[in-house]
């Protein structure tokens, strides 16, 4: 039998991981909801942002918060670049071609990163304290990213509900054609959405670097998981993605402690597959 303390610790770690996964899933889901394309390359953009933080803070000696801000900017820039260079020429292509174009980008980004930085694992060293509550360790390297992720989600919520652009984004995701009838310019909405989605990728990179080392194939670790969270929550459904992030992270954390890390992922994916059959529209969807 496994010590309940370990299980409790795993559950808490799951919540903290869930915060970061939610940032990834919300960013990808925002793009999907508005532009209707799944960016297979999404988590590889996160990888590039993590490299930026690594080099700025470890090689050039920047303070970590400044490197993090650069990561946000870089993420937004990459988001716009992906949209303008790859997505906009194929906006009307069949979905499979759109999927594959971002998939080809994945090969490109991963291999180019291998070429530039080799396959070494690189990590940023933090000297942060760890708190102990009732035998459970709460390292600051998990608490800080979790706190920031919650704040960021609040920020995203306010942006989407309180600003003109945010309202426009939500409007497009509800009805793409009606939007242009209303005289709004969907092209601008697409670019802003890609920038915000990229910004979320940059943020996720800044949060992930606290606990994970970065390498060219980092995307494979979180990419499939992120797609599945989006589908589980309902593609384009932001609240669903939020809930699904925590469901998946808890499964991975707890099953990871009981069996092994790989089995944690296997069980999470199997849960995803089964859920697809039970609730194809996502966990929060009403059945059609």
């Amino acid at each position: 039998m496994i010590d309940p303390i370990f299980l409790a610790e795993a559950a808490i770690n799951g919540v903290m991981l869930g915060g970061i996964l939610a940032i990834l899933a919300l960013g990808l889901n925002l793009i999907f909801g508005v532009i209707d394309i799944v960016w297979i390359v999404y988590v590889d953009l996160v990888m590039l942002c993590m490299y930026a933080i690594y080099f700025l803070s470890q090689v050039h000696g920047w303070p970590i918060w400044a490197a993090g801000l650069v990561s946000l900017g870089l993420g937004a820039l990459l988001g716009v670049a992906v949209h303008v260079l790859v997505i906009s020429p194929i906006l009307t292509s069949p979905p499979i071609n759109q999927l594959l174009a971002t998939g080809g980008l994945l090969f490109f980004v991963q291999s180019f990163a291998t070429f530039l930085w080799t396959t070494d694992h690189r990590s940023v060293r933090f000297s942060l304290p760890s708190f102990e509550v009732g035998g459970i360790f709460l390292p600051a390297t998990r608490l800080i990213p979790f706190g920031i992720s919650i704040l960021a989600m609040l920020g995203l919520y306010l942006f989407l509900t309180r600003t003109y652009m945010g309202t426009a984004i939500r409007a497009v995701s509800q009805d793409r054609d009606a939007m242009s009838l209303m005289g709004a310019n969907p092209r601008r909405v697409y670019v802003v959405t890609s920038a915000v989605g990229g910004l979320m990728a940059g943020l996720a990179g800044a949060l992930l670097i606290f606990q994970y080392s970065v390498h060219p194939f980092f995307g494979g670790q979180f990419g499939p998981l992120t797609f599945m969270i989006c589908v589980l929550g309902g593609l384009g459904n932001m609240v669903g993605a939020f809930v699904a992030s925590f469901v998946m992270s808890e499964i991975i954390s707890i099953a990871g402690v009981i069996w092994s890390t790989e089995m944690g992922y296997v069980i999470a994916f199997v849960v995803f597959i089964v859920m697809m059959f039970v609730r194809p529209g996502g966990i929060l969807a009403r059945r059609e």
């Binding site: 292509s93 979905p95 071609n97 090969f107 092994s260």
Partner: protein, 332 residues
């Protein structure tokens, strides 16, 4: 692809067939061996591409064919290594097992109408599950280090292990041709019309009496079984299996790329696409060698993106369409 019906088409096909049958006579020496190696790879991956296109052309976009490939290859390799079961029987077990697995996945997918993006992502999850299971069961499978087939000491028909590449050349050529035959049979059957109707509109198809679930499961099982055959051929030829090269998102995407590049609606589309992608990556590898690790793949990825943006119908598909347009009214 009605062009083969014409005389010119037949002559071309016969010439191509004769060339393929006699190719090993010309391919001798070091470079010849390398050429044979590349051709064998093309046959194996084309077969897998054809298998994928059986589903892809009807709108069932699977991003999880790595699952079927990995299952096929690992089943035959594990049975041989641990039980000394001849790959002839192992292959039957592998293909049957993969077919059953595919049916188990396909049944709920078609029953609950998981289509489009959702189908792609569910199959992607399936591929990841198989990859992770192979890694997790490392005591058996060697985990991410892969598994080498136990050597049979000398050439052995029973173990399907030969030092001479020509044996594999003819073997994989035959398997590839069989794959083409299956594709052709399906293309000319009633099932094709039914599947096309389902791909267009499921509800309408069901309303004219097409058994949607049965057809979808059937096509998935057929596609998975052929993919498993490709996996078995790969395992026997390379004599080494690895979860990253056989399962997961990377290999699944590569299969789809090759097919889309060649064009999935024509008989030879997957083969043309596979031959092009393999030729591309091999020549990039020769140019760059070990000097710039990752550079070859970088260019490969970049070219794929460019191809998809500028040649959306696939190279062979675009060419075939262009040729079909020329003789007035010849192609529909």
């Amino acid at each position: 692809m009605r062009a083969t019906g014409s005389l010119a088409g037949r002559v071309t096909a016969a010439a191509l067939g004769a060339l393929l049958l006699t190719a090993p006579l010309f391919l001798t020496g070091g470079w010849g061996q390398y050429g044979l190696h590349v051709l064998i790879q093309i046959f194996i991956w084309s077969l897998i591409g054809q298998a994928w296109s059986l589903m892809g052309r009807f709108g069932l976009v699977s991003l999880g064919h790595g699952a079927f490939l990995g299952l096929g290859a690992y089943t035959v390799a594990l049975l041989w290594n641990f039980f000394r079961l001849t790959p002839w029987i192992g292959a039957v077990v592998a293909v049957a097992g993969t077919a059953v697995f595919a049916a188990v996945v396909a049944y709920p997918c078609s029953r609950f109408r998981v289509v489009g993006h959702y189908f792609a992502l569910v199959t992607l999850a399936v591929g990841e599950v198989i990859r992770l299971l192979i890694i997790a069961e490392r005591d058996w499978t060697g985990g991410s280090l892969g598994l080498t087939l136990r050597s049979a000491e000398s050439d052995s028909l029973l173990a399907i292990q030969f030092a001479d590449k020509r044996v594999f050349y003819y073997g994989t050529l035959a398997v590839w041709a069989a794959g083409l035959w299956v594709w052709r049979r399906l293309d000319r059957s009633m099932a094709r019309a039914a599947m096309e109707a389902i791909g267009e509109d499921e509800t309408a198809a069901a309303s004219v009496g097409i058994h949607v679930t049965r057809f979808k499961i059937g096509i998935t099982v057929l596609s998975a079984a052929l993919t498993a055959v490709g996996g078995v051929a790969y395992a026997q030829y390379i004599a080494y299996v690895n979860p990253e090269t056989l399962s997961g998102i990377g290999v699944s995407l590569r299969i789809v790329f090759a097919v889309v590049l060649g064009g999935m609606y024509s008989l030879l589309g997957p083969t043309v696409g596979t031959a092009l992608t393999i030729a591309l990556s091999e020549s990039l590898r020769i140019v760059f060698g070990l000097r710039f690790i990752g550079m070859a793949e970088t260019i490969y990825g970049l070219l794929l993106v460019l191809f998809i943006i500028f040649l959306p119908a696939g190279i062979y598909g675009s060419l075939a369409r262009l040729l079909a347009r020329r003789p007035a009214g010849a192609g529909t």
